[in-house]
């Protein structure tokens, strides 16, 4: 990525696009959550992203700082499990990134830290039918990209791993979170949180693509 200014622009554009996408899929996410949970996942994500967008509009600083601020705002406004976890993902990723250049290795490392925090907080493992099943494959795939590849290209290359991970949750039985109580009833529907992660990563892909970064 060429410069800190471009990076902050991308963070802002990403969150705006993410809000747009999630907004458009709010009902779908709610219905996925209703299948075995409480149906509020779409509304929760929209609330969180609205607050994140509003925060980065007003905030200054590096991309890392914006992300950290967005994560705090997201967590507070969203509430619920996904508020805490997606919020922590953003905050930890942002804090780890801090003022580092937004190249592929730094971003991959920061996201790895974010993922670790999500696992520490939520105590879920891959295969538990949570957002981790989309996030972990993506983070692994991103880390496996050539270090000198542009972030945009690396991101695009890693995205299918997230999609496949989310899709695979449809065949899993929930072991964590609200829907874990009655595992079998969650079979057949992909996990709402994992689905959201794909939308978020897709929005970043679009933001990076548009920037040509």
């Amino acid at each position: 990525m060429s410069s800190p200014e471009v990076a902050t622009t991308i963070v802002r554009r990403w969150l705006a696009l993410a809000l747009e996408t999630i907004n458009a899929h709010e009902d779908e996410l709610g219905q996925l959550d209703a299948a075995a949970g409480d149906g509020d996942h779409g509304a929760t994500m929209v609330r969180g992203l609205r607050a994140a967008v509003a925060t980065v509009e007003k905030a200054d600083g590096s991309a890392g700082h914006l992300l950290a601020a967005a994560g705090a705002a997201f967590a507070d406004a969203a509430g619920g499990a996904s508020g805490a976890l997606v919020g922590a993902l953003l905050s930890t990723t942002g804090r780890t990134l801090a003022d580092d250049p937004c190249d592929t290795p730094s971003v991959a490392k920061a996201l790895q830290a974010g993922l670790t925090m999500v696992k520490r907080l939520g105590k879920a493992q891959p295969g538990d039918k949570t957002l981790i099943d989309a996030l972990q494959p993506f983070v692994d795939a991103l880390a496996a990209q050539p270090v000198d590849q542009s972030l945009a290209a690396a991101w695009r290359a890693a995205l299918p791993a997230a999609r496949q991970g989310a899709e695979a949750t449809g065949a899993m039985v929930a072991r964590r979170g609200r829907s874990a109580k009655l595992g079998e009833r969650s079979l057949g529907h992909p996990d709402p949180g994992a689905t959201s992660i794909v939308y978020l990563l897709q929005a970043m892909n679009d933001a990076l693509g548009a920037s040509g970064a």
Partner: protein, 332 residues
Amino acid sequence: MTRLFNDPADFREELIEGFVAAYGRLVKRVPNASGVMAIDSPQPGKVSVVVGGGSGHYPAFCGYVGPGLAAAAVMGNVFAAPSAEQVHRVTKAVASDAGVLYCYGNYSGDVLNFDMAELRCQDEGIDVRTVRVTDDVASAPRGQEEDRRGIAGDFFVFKIAGAAAARGDALDEVERLARKANDHTRSFGVAFGGCTLPGQSAPLFTVEPGRMELGLGVHGEPGIQSSHMRPAREVADLLLDTLLTDAPSDAGSTVAVLLNGLGSTQYEEMFVLYKDINRRLLAEGLTPYKPIVNEMVTSLDMAGCSLTLCWLDDELTALLDAPCASAAYTNI
């Protein structure tokens, strides 16, 4: 279905404002936070019991804030746990020198957010403990009691914790008693119809006419079994068969009883059902202690009810009997 709102995005804020406007004689708003605190909180030397969770369960959680009960409630959006930030702010507002006990239903989102706030408070030198309510026998098998979710049993655990705090018990003791209350409490519910989130026009789930879902969660999480609708006396037996099989190992013969309506089940129906519950309790040699038939932990406008038993001993009975005042429950 939710009909009365302005902007659904403002629902939580407006409901908190309305609640405080109505019950200002018992509670006040926690400044800059999504929560309410008792007018007499914090009290030096007395533990503050902080409850909370998503909205949509009134009287849980704000309806139980007041003298002799909870010191504060942190209020999330409908069916969403409050954020750690809000839990932290509310805790700061009511923390006394005697410490704070968090009491809430065991849901992933609540655990995450309350735990994060607890860590933060501990770092700031506030002694915070946590007792999660895990009364719903439908949500995990015996032996995995700590994985169960919390439903109407909230009421007994809050009441007992609040009474111990009001009496001036130290934090260790308030925690022990709350945990004991939870360990002695079991609930099981049936649902007949879904609930609708504000701003939505379709219910979160539906139950086929003429059928009922057993063990359905208070947020519409699927039940463990679906059955055809049965006469009240069979529903009573079904609830009690399940609860009695799961009685705590040290169960005595006196039980506090709560027959809880989820929102749109008629009070009259619940009394008809209670008649058969009472008969069965007596037949089992159990003595129902001051039963409550009411809406104590709802699920928006869900149709259904749950039965909660809390096996009492002298210690718990004294706390249940202690006076308290709150918007939803006053005891003299």
